[in-house]
Every structure is written in C-alpha cells, then in structure tokens.
Symmetry: C2
Amino acid sequence: MKRTIVAVAALAALGLHLTSCKPKDAGSAVSGDAAQKVYVTPGQHDEFYNIVSGGFNGQMSVYGLPSGRMFKIIPVFSTFPENGWGYSEETKPMLNTSHGYIPWDDLHHISLSQTKGEHDGRWAFGNANNTPRVARISLSTFRTDEIIELPNSGGNHSSPFITENTEYVVASTRFSVPPDNDGDMPISSFKKNFKGYISFISVDPQSGHMGIKFQLKMPGISFDLARAGKGKSHGWFFFSCYNTEQASTLLEVNASQKDKDFILAVNWKKAEEYLKQGKGKKVAAKYAHNLYDEKTHSATSTIINEVMTLDPKECPGLVYFMPCPKSPHGCDVDPTGEFIVGSGKLAAVIPVFSFDKIQKAIAGKTYDGEFDGIPVLKYESVLYGEVQKPGLGPLHTEFDGQGNAITSFFVSSELVKWNIKDLKVLDRVPTYYSVGHLSIPGGPTSKPHGKYVVAYNKITKDRYLPTGPELTQSAQLYDISGDKMKLLLDFPTVGEPHYAESIPASLLEKNSKKIFKIEENGHKYAAKGEKEAKVVREGNQVHVYITAIRSHFTPDNIEGVKLGDEVYFHVTNLEQDWDIPHGFAVKGSNNAEILIMPGETQTLKWVPSRVGITPIYCTDFCSALHQEMQGYVRVSAKGSNVPLTFSTGKTAAPEAEKVAKK
Amino acid sequence: MKRTIVAVAALAALGLHLTSCKPKDAGSAVSGDAAQKVYVTPGQHDEFYNIVSGGFNGQMSVYGLPSGRMFKIIPVFSTFPENGWGYSEETKPMLNTSHGYIPWDDLHHISLSQTKGEHDGRWAFGNANNTPRVARISLSTFRTDEIIELPNSGGNHSSPFITENTEYVVASTRFSVPPDNDGDMPISSFKKNFKGYISFISVDPQSGHMGIKFQLKMPGISFDLARAGKGKSHGWFFFSCYNTEQASTLLEVNASQKDKDFILAVNWKKAEEYLKQGKGKKVAAKYAHNLYDEKTHSATSTIINEVMTLDPKECPGLVYFMPCPKSPHGCDVDPTGEFIVGSGKLAAVIPVFSFDKIQKAIAGKTYDGEFDGIPVLKYESVLYGEVQKPGLGPLHTEFDGQGNAITSFFVSSELVKWNIKDLKVLDRVPTYYSVGHLSIPGGPTSKPHGKYVVAYNKITKDRYLPTGPELTQSAQLYDISGDKMKLLLDFPTVGEPHYAESIPASLLEKNSKKIFKIEENGHKYAAKGEKEAKVVREGNQVHVYITAIRSHFTPDNIEGVKLGDEVYFHVTNLEQDWDIPHGFAVKGSNNAEILIMPGETQTLKWVPSRVGITPIYCTDFCSALHQEMQGYVRVSAKGSNVPLTFSTGKTAAPEAEKVAKK
C-alpha cells in the first residue's frame, strides 16, 4: 500500500498523527471542590438538560448537568424493544422509508429549535446519517413526532442545522452519489455523474411539521458541519466541504491531497427569491414523510414523489466557495454572526472568516477562479485572521458568550480557549481521549448560557472499570465560569455521544407532559373504560380492546383464538396519574413488549404459533399486586369450534360474546 | 367490580395500600460528606461493579459504585441495533426459541457465579421472564455466551438462582400452565390441568455450558423468589409460592384470599439420588439451546426434544411446604445457611425460619396436612421467630455480613435494618419511591462484602428533571458502614432496575478481555489480512470478505452486484489495539449496523432494493480520517452483464475477478 505510506509520511511531516496522542499530563488535575460542584443532592434537580445524540445507536439521550446522569433514551431511528418503538403497530410507520422498514440509523447531530437566535425549548432535531432522514422530537413528550426522508442524498451526516427562527432545518450529502433516478453507472464516472445535494426543509412555526422546500444541486463533493448565519448574517448558511479531489476510493489518501478545500456560503434568502421567480425545477423522487399524532397515538407514513430543486449554475449570487485549510470538518458562526470559524481536521491553523469581508469580496468579485462553475472567493479577501498554533486536528468550536471561543482538537486531544477578537490562545486543557464535538449550553446560539463545556470523546480506554473489548464512550464536564477551564467530571454515555446541545432546565421542565388525557384519546381501538373492553373477530383478525389499571386487565381470560389468527391487543392504560405506565407482553410472541403511558392506547400484534394456554402480563411494576396483573389466552386448533369468549373475574365467562362478522 | 372493592377494603384493614405511600420526611437528609463519598476522581476507578438487570428492556447493565455511572448495556434477550446484537448473522441464532426468533424479553434477576458460596467473578446469569429462558454472560467479554429455553414453563420470573458452587441454576414457573404437549383445554380446568414446573439447570464447572438436568412437576401455583441453602443447608433450595388459591382470573383479588401461602423447601441432593435410582421420566418437549463460540465469533442454536422430569408425589422426602404470610414474594437465606427469611408482600410481619427446626420437623413429621399430596410443615415447628412491625409490604432481604439483615418495603417505601439473632429492628430509611429489590455487595453470598446498599425503586416521579410521560427508573445508594444507613446518591437506570448484584472491581477487572487475537479468529468467512479480502459469488449470494483498519476498507469499490442478490458483508476488524472497534453500515439496508471488535469478524446481510450506487462506511469514529473510511457498491439490474469486480485505491479495478460458481 504505497499510497498509504506516502500519506502517512505527509501527515507526520505536518506534525499530525492519524490517531490521537495521549495528553502528557494524563494525571487528574481536578480542583478540590469538583465533587461538590457536580453533586446534585438527592431530590434536587440538575441545572441544564444536556440532549446528546447517540451516534451509532440511532437515538438521542437526555442527561442532566452538572451531574452527568442520564434520564432518558429517546428512540428516534432505531428500534427500541424496551418500550415497543418500531414494534407496536402505532410506531412501525415511523421507521418506514423509500427502502421499506429500517430498524436502525446513525444519529450524529442535534439542533434545538430557536426563535430570534435563542433556544425556545420546543423541539430537538436529529439526523439519520445512513439512510438520509431528519427527525423532529417534541421537548414536551420527549418523543419522536416526525421523520422526513431526503432523496438524492448518499449519507446525511451534514445535518440538521437550523436557521435563527427555525425557518429551515438544513441537511447536505456526505457521500456524493448519482441522483436517485439516474440509474446504473460505474463508480469510475464519479466526477461526471455524482452530485452533492443540500436540502432546505421548512418547519411550520406552529405545528413544527416539516417539508422539503427545495434542494440545491451541488458538485459531487462531501459536505460536513454547517451553521446558519446570525444577526447581520441572517439569510446565509455556511457549510464545510471536503473531498474536493472528488475521490471515490481510499479517501484517507485520495481525499487528503489538497492543502485547502472549501467553506460553502449559501444565500438562502436569494434562493427563496429564485423560487418565487419560478427558477425551481420539480424532479421525480421518492421519499417517506412520517408523522406521529399525539391524539390518535398513531403514526402515518406517506410516500412523496417529487422534490423541488435549484441549480446554482442557473442562479447567480446564490452560492460561493471560500478556500479553507485542510479537510474542513467544523464550521461555526459566532454569536454576533460576523465571524465564521473553519476547522480543518488536518490543518495547523484555525481560519476565521469575516461576514463583512465576504460581502465585500462578493460585491467586488474578488474571485480565485471557480470550482465546477461556482465562484471561489479569494482566501485573503474573506479572512479575518488565523488562530496560530492552536493545537493539532481542530474539529469544532462553540462560544461562551463572553467573547471567547473554545475549539476541540482530536489529534492533540484537548480543548483550547481563544479570544474571538484578537485570535489569541487563552487556555488549553487535555481531554481523555480524543475529543470530537464539544458543547457549551447555548453555545451555537446568539446568546450562549455559558458556565460549562462538555467534551464528547471518541476513545475511552482506561477511564472506567473495563467491560471487555466493547467499552463505553465518554464525556467530560469542565467549569468555564473563570478564566481557566477546570475539569470537573468524567461521565459515560450510551452509544457514541456525537454532538449535543444543552439548555437551561427552566426552559423545558415547565412544559414537560405528565399524562395523556383519556377523554382526548382518539385511537381507533381505544377502550376508554372497562365497559368498552371487548374482543371482536374480523375474519382471521382478532381485535382485543383491553384496558389496564392497577392491578388487572379487562378482559384477562380470552378463549376462541385459533391457529392462523392474527391477534391485535389494543391496550388502553386507564390510569391518569403521573408515572404509572403499564406494560404488556405475550409469551412466545415474535414481537417486543409495549409500554403504555397513562391515557394512551398502543397495539401489540401476535400471531400464535401453537395450541395451548398463553399467559399475558403487565411488564412494568405498577403496584404491590403488580405480580398478579396477568391473564390467559386459550389458543385452539384451526377449525376448532371453541367460541370467542372473554371475561375478567369469572372463570366460566358467562357474559361471553361470539362475534364472527367478516 | 364488587370483589375488587372487598379486596381493597380487606387490605386497607391490614394497614396496606395497593400503591405506595410517600415517606413522611420526603426532604433530603443527606450528610455533608455525601458528595465526596460518591465522587470518583476522573481517571480513577469505582470500587464495585454493580450488575443490574434491565427488567423490561431484556438487557443487563453494568454500573460503578459508588459513582452510580453506567458503563455498559449488555444485550441479552433483546435486539440491540447499536452493535448488531440480533441483527448480525452471527448473533441471530442467540435469539432463537421453540417459538422462532424473538426480539425481546423481560430480564428480572441476576445471579453471579459462586464457588464455595463466594463470588468467583466468572459468569452472570439472567432470566427471560416472558418466553422462559436462562442466559449466561461472560464476565471476561461482558457478552451473552449462552441461552437455554425452559419447556413446560409459563413465565420464568422465579429465576435464575444458583447453588453454592454454581452446580445448578434454578428456575420455576410464575404463571402455571398446562405442560407444553397437553394440547387444547379451557382455562376453567386450571386446578386439574395447570402445573408449575421447576427446572434444575446444570452448569459445567469449566466451560459454564448449561443443560436442563431435571424438572420437578409441581402443582399449579405461582413461584416467586428463591435461594439455595448455604453451608449447613447446602443441598436444599427454598422458593416462595403464591396463588395457592389457584385462581386464573383477577388475581389481585382471587390470589390474595389466603392468609398464608408457602415457602417450598426442595432437597435437591435427594433429587439427584432419585435420578440415579431411575425415578426420572423423560418426556417429549421442545426447547432451544443457543451457544456463542468466541473462536468462530458465531452462535449456533440447537432444538432439544426431550426433558427429564421428577414427580415429587413419587419421590418421598423431596419437597415440603412451609406456611408463610401473606402472598410471599422474597425468600432469602442468611450467610450461615441457618435462617430462611420469607417476605409476604401483603404481610405485616417477617417470618424467619430455622433450617435446624425444618430438619427436626421433617424427621418428626410435624405436618399441618398436605397440599396436592405434598406435606405441609407446621408453621410454629419451623419458625425461628417473626420480625414484628417491620414496615408495610416486605419484599426482599439481603445481609451485611455483620449479623444484620436489610429488608426492602414497597408499600411503606423504606429499607429496614434488623438483627438476625434477636429479630429487633435497628434502623429504617425512606426510599424515593417504592423500593423493589435491594442489593448489598455480596449480599446473597456466604461472605457479604458490605459497605453499601442500593435500593432499586419502582416509581421515580419528581426525583429528576422530567422527560415527558415516560420517566427514567431509579436507584439509591446508601452507606451502611456505620450503625445507621445514610443516603448518599440518587442515580437513574436504564430499563427497570429489577435486581442486581455487586462485586468488588478487583475480582473482575484483571480478567476483562481487551481484544480478540486475529490469529485465533476461526470465523468461516474471516479475512485475516487485506490480501485475503475478496468478493465471491455463489449463485445469488455474494460473499464480501472485507477488512477494516484505520482508515479504510478493503475492498472499498465493488461492482457487479445485481437486484435479487443477497449480499453478505463479512467484516474483519484487523486492529489489535484496545478500544479500536470499527462499525459497518450500508445505506438503505433493512438491517442494523454491526460493530466489530479488534480481531473479530461479523456479518451484515443486505438485500439491495434498487439500482444505483450505495455507500458503505465505518460508523465508529476511529481516527482523524474516520470520516474518509467509506466505499461504494454498484447495484445493477437483474440480468445485467456488469462483471463482479472489487478494489481499493484503483478506480478502474483492473485486478478484479469474476467468480460465478454455483
């Protein structure tokens, strides 16, 4: 592998290593009051919610800061047998795509909704990296309410990034691919046929409902992190770009050839004008749009068959490239909107671009040629300055609201604080090990909340008790309230803690939903009281309208089910108290359980596979007599004449009904 | 519901409530040094592993004490899209049962292996409550190595409980059902036809491999918690029993009628004698036995077709009932083996039985009649004494090794410490809220490690920042090193923290495996170096022998795959460093990802659904150029003549081979 050796030598000459270095002072320089600073007295609450993507687990998780305790895993793109997500009839449509049902994805980035550039506490958005999608999570129910698929995208890593008023959630391609409908072609035709689409997804300001407003058809390069403009730069969007070499194989070598790739600047207000002028083109596409309805407790999946596209080549002034060293990964905009920080993961400096200078360069057409027909602005004409010798392998930058930036460094495994105005390095602290993203509460907004920074690390090794070859991933909490950053806590995370946002508890806890009102339950098969409980046969489908309340099911004895039947248990939880879920499971079912929150209805499908008596029971410890919350279903042979009966509390079930309509 | 009202009234008269009370002093009486006591300085390790069942998530989780931090979720009975458990070809057989593939179960109890009554740090066992199974987890790899199904069981809550040298793992029925092969019958025939089987599973002392040695055919009642005898009572086993009313409907009322149910005493040494004498009877059955092989990195599932049974009615001296108030739930044996503590969840006292008195009562035939042909020992004849006014709703008891017991109380929501000898209550502390199980490190062994007790609570409500209707479950850590128990920490848990054991870190961390040696990889489709990478067509199956090493796949360009093909990506991770996994995913795949540990091979099956270029990539951030660790697969139409080619680093793939053997 000659090329690999050459590339490694080249990186070594740059002072870089492909893998991380262990910081020299790997001891634990923790100040004496760290224990008190992270301890939340039992019964008291944390100060911030830390909403963390799970990376390759396809989920989001909710932690408290400063304690580092995890309060919830929110299933988004991956099945979650624990509560039936992706297994219940109601949630299966949420995982539908144009490729059919998909049980997993890779959720990398979080965006919390904003109004006027500040956190508004309504929604969290997350991306599916593998099969391109964007999800919207309610910060009232902490559930996934909506998922929209992205056509023409090969990998949705660069997503979701939001504008100042959540007008758009934006997503762009990591792996360029031929557009979905272009058919069979060789990989060797990359430069000619592969494209990099950027999707602008509109968000309804009331309902939050998403729709793809338009896609930009860009050259076949890779997009990475992005941020919307703020304040003076509102109306613009900035994306890091790599693999401008347009390599299709051995990218570790072939996509690391150029000294500079690009930051892409997009004028999305101008895109809206072009759309109004009719410059958009509707093209055939196929993508799923899935919505969960809190009233019917059910999801629907709709396949959409066309998407609006804009070709920048036909829309002058829409997009510009700015050179950025080397293999840009992070692209962050400071709270004022004036400074755009590019972080090249193989770069030795951090370039800071000026929005004012970008505008001047555009007005003066200060170009350095073009790339695939798109103007490239001259590096010096848009550069505010470079942070010199910041560290090795800068990745991401957030802001403390005090005029400073903190940047994460994967290769030198550290956080570095620097002043935005004079670009001077102020402080550096080691991370254990190899930090990726970092998060300051409110760090990507116009008004950072500050106080802490969390490092989300890529390597854990010896930081915790070992658990075999597969170790936890990890985060570290630092106090940034003073001039120097101080390590407070290591806390393990589920999945890969790829990126996160933190938000003051006061913005969310007041709106957190406790129960669903039973009188508002609009589920088709709800039984809103025990009197509505029944079992109905429709051909070979048996619909069980079953209620759960401490500590029994109604009905709890069912006979007349036969081999060949499909049994649907529609379980309504009649409780109206906070934190009294019931669970439901069937022995031998090729399905998961369901957990049903107070006032909710959820459905478990069961296809019996043998003749005999099958137990059902509540899976969530609900009372002193939870263990007694059970029942039996009798399954008879196909063609048996056992009548359909159901009851609770009467062994012989004299009130049984026989319903056998088609 | 007249009967319900009557039952509730009866319980109220007993001073009991069906749901829990909030402790009166619900403030947080935490001592000043609690923060320091639970803080583990970054880089330092916790003192104990706390291995906690996940209840309805079907998993086990590993926490550290005293920090309460979670280090790993071990998938056992439930699919885990995060690392491919249940989705990779190698792990699918682990979830096979006589009912077919099952993606979920409900794991309630943990047992850590013992030698001479003490923790030996080799294995953890866990139960599947829903579809009856027992699993064995390696405490070297922290993976599930074996799962065995239990025939003739309706619900395997009462499991797994181990003997002093891990001779047996024992499991008994929660929901009595007709034996598996008895065919169709009405629920009303419960008393006649329903049985409660107890399984004795032998464990090979070297390999740990399990096999059902025999099953006891017991009357149709419900079994709950159990413990093996220790020391002087070695050779005996004690099980709590409820629903001796043999109710089949509305058990919250109908199974709470009697003032006393039973503790069952089983002389398993005598069972072995009866088996030697040929008293066992082999009966037809059908159950799965699944084994994971660490060398081939693959699992197999075998269906077994008969099981040995013993009928106590034909084996005098094998089993005895002891009356126990009321609806017994917990049954615990003190470190000496002399005292058996029965905890009736609706009882107002805690009876403590004496092993010596049990032996005398048996010798003297001091019976109080019989139940379904089995002798019932007279309560007073076997009772050592009762703990008076201990609290409401006693559930479980563990031991501190200092002569004291600590019992959990669900209804009065507290932990109560009492002296084993004089049965006097010494201390009580509230729990928040409604504790179920509790765990003292080594608490169920002959040599408790003491120091802490953890309460695993059933209700969380306001203890943490709210997360919508579905809240985390929770545990609480108390210091028990002094006379009084002191609350130190609340920590949230994943799933339902049903039961747990804690073990000193020193017993496990030294044996924790770091990598799999590549030269020992015996996987059929391993590529132990890049030279062995290849793509082979076998009919419509395409086998991709693909390697992963920082930061590329070999091959990373594949053409010649066609619609209708089944593509098997056999990914070998060539790394031999600790904590360098690689992940693997395919866009649009109706499957999860796989995570591959260093030296391991795992297989992802993909059935392409459309013509075009499909990206593949590494999902686990592995180096500064992880983002570049990707590739492309070209999918052509059925019948296309695109040849099968593969390459890395060469766009035109001149070394491509065409293999088209049948």
